[in-house]
């Protein structure tokens, strides 16, 4: 019996190592609670737009001028439906700059833009902040148009420019 106890004592370090190995080899049970799932949904989205420029020409204070209806074409080559949001810069650059108005209301040196997807309604306010959907859950090409609401008065007659951005996301 004493010999067996001696053997057992001699085995203790080995057993400790074995236990540690087993414990260290099982971090899965502890780590699981901290895991976060990250998945990606398969789909394919592709858009292009043309033309990429438009000049409204000379504008009268307080007036509004528009592109022709369906002047722009967004070509949709997606395998899934997409949302296309529209936005622009906060400032119209050039000389005495214009502020872009996010409520669609022009003012003193303050301009606004509205757009629509080939309805001629020009009812979508183009904002410089969060984009607003031009089309949602769309499949196929989209033609669209843009309208400028000129300031009610100008600080100067220098050319002003702004950039409109179309942002495509999978629906």
């Amino acid at each position: 019996m004493r010999r067996f106890i001696k053997k057992l004592v001699a085995m203790v370090p080995i057993l400790v190592v074995l236990v540690l190995l087993v414990v260290l080899a099982s971090p899965v049970s502890a780590a699981t609670t901290a895991d976060v799932a990250v998945n990606a949904t398969p789909s394919f989205v592709s858009i292009t737009n043309s033309p990429d420029n438009y000049g409204f020409g000379t504008v009268v204070a307080g007036s509004n001028v528009s592109t022709a209806q369906a002047y722009f074409t967004m070509v949709d080559g997606s395998s899934v439906n997409i949302d296309v949001a529209i936005s622009c810069n906060a400032t119209w650059a050039g000389g005495v700059t214009w502020t872009h108005d996010d409520t669609g209301t022009p003012g003193v040196d303050t301009a606004a833009l509205k757009a629509s997807p080939n309805t001629g309604a020009y009812d979508i306010i183009v904002k410089n902040g969060t984009p607003v959907n031009l089309v949602a859950n769309n499949s196929g090409n989209v033609t669209w148009e843009l309208r400028l609401y000129a300031p009610t008065s100008f600080g100067d007659g220098v050319l002003k420019t702004n950039t409109v951005t179309l942002t495509a996301t999978a629906t």
Binding site: V22, T32, T41, S46, I47, T163
Partner: protein
């Protein structure tokens, strides 16, 4: 006795080994396509496949630039939801299939709306939680680059950052109609009051403060800032900004135009946009990847 001890030890060791298999890593069910499962230490990554957004190349460059995946779901497996203190990472890819050198801007963007039902997260809070490892990657022709995006939620989130407000689409339209109405009304008022010099007075006074005539005075600069941020703003932003005063907010809330969200319990989302900085036209395009987050 020896046999008893040996059997006891064997059973003990077996039970330890058995414990390690009690909680296997959760499996993730692919939602479609041809999934390729990747795993990283401490992070379970589900299927990866290309949800590609094309950024058109203008002129005669030929080819296109692609980014993917277009939609990333974080925490949508039961038991593996996101939580304060957790970090989720995912590499997005930019593929330059044109024959030109390209430089891109990879940046955080609040969403316009999420069809999945996720709330638009307040940019003033979560923008600092989003890390873009290479915000201005340059890609030679026919090359691919991986950009690691991380969402790192702090363990402790102040209460006024947890809660946020957003306007429904109806609410936005409602607020805009009020402001437009007030603005146009004020123009007439100033014309009548000041005659030829009305524009100067209007510029001086109205751009400083727009009076709604219904609820409260709204600083116009803050209004523009606010509307620029719609979808949503945190209660911290509202407290320091002073734009949407409690009474106005309550009115909007009661009318169903404003809703209070919670970053730790609601589902929310944001965008990572990728733009070709070489575009010169006044109408430009970009691709944006949806990040949809479900909290534990």
């Amino acid at each position: 006795m020896r046999r008893i001890v040996t059997i006891t030890l064997a059973l003990y060791l077996l039970s330890l080994v058995g414990c390690a298999q009690v909680n296997p890593p959760p499996s993730i069910q692919p939602e479609g396509g041809v999934p390729q499962v990747e795993e990283q230490e401490g992070l379970q990554v589900g299927e990866y496949s290309y949800n590609i957004v094309a950024i058109p190349s203008f002129g005669t460059e030929g080819g296109q630039v692609y980014v993917g995946p277009g939609k990333i779901w974080i925490g949508y497996t039961e038991g593996m939801e996101m939580y304060p203190g957790a970090r989720a990472e995912y590499p997005i890819q930019i593929i330059n299939k044109t024959n030109k050198d390209k430089r891109f801007l990879v940046y955080f963007k609040p969403g316009a709306s999420f069809n999945e039902g996720n709330l638009i997260a307040p940019a003033d809070v979560i923008q600092s939680w989003v890390e873009v490892t290479k915000p201005n990657p340059a890609l030679p022709p026919n090359s691919t680059s991986e950009i690691l995006i991380a969402l790192d939620i702090p363990k402790e989130i102040p209460n006024d950052e947890v809660h946020f407000w957003y306007l429904t689409q109806d609410g936005i339209s409602h607020l805009i109609s009020i402001i437009s109405e007030v603005k146009s009304g004020l123009e007439e008022e100033y014309k009548a009051k000041y005659g030829d010099v009305w524009q100067g007075k209007y510029q001086d006074e109205v751009t400083q403060e727009i009076v709604t005539g219904r609820v409260h005075a709204i600083p116009s600069g803050e209004l523009l800032l606010y509307l620029g941020k719609v979808g949503s703003v945190s209660e911290r932003f509202l407290a320091t900004d002073g734009f949407l005063q409690p009474e106005l907010l309550n009115n909007l809330h009661q009318e169903g135009y404003a809703i209070r969200g919670n970053l730790t319990t609601d589902d929310w989302g944001f965008l990572i946009a990728i733009k070709d900085t070489g575009q010169t036209g006044l109408v430009q395009t970009e691709g944006a990847i949806k990040w949809l987050v479900r909290m534990r």
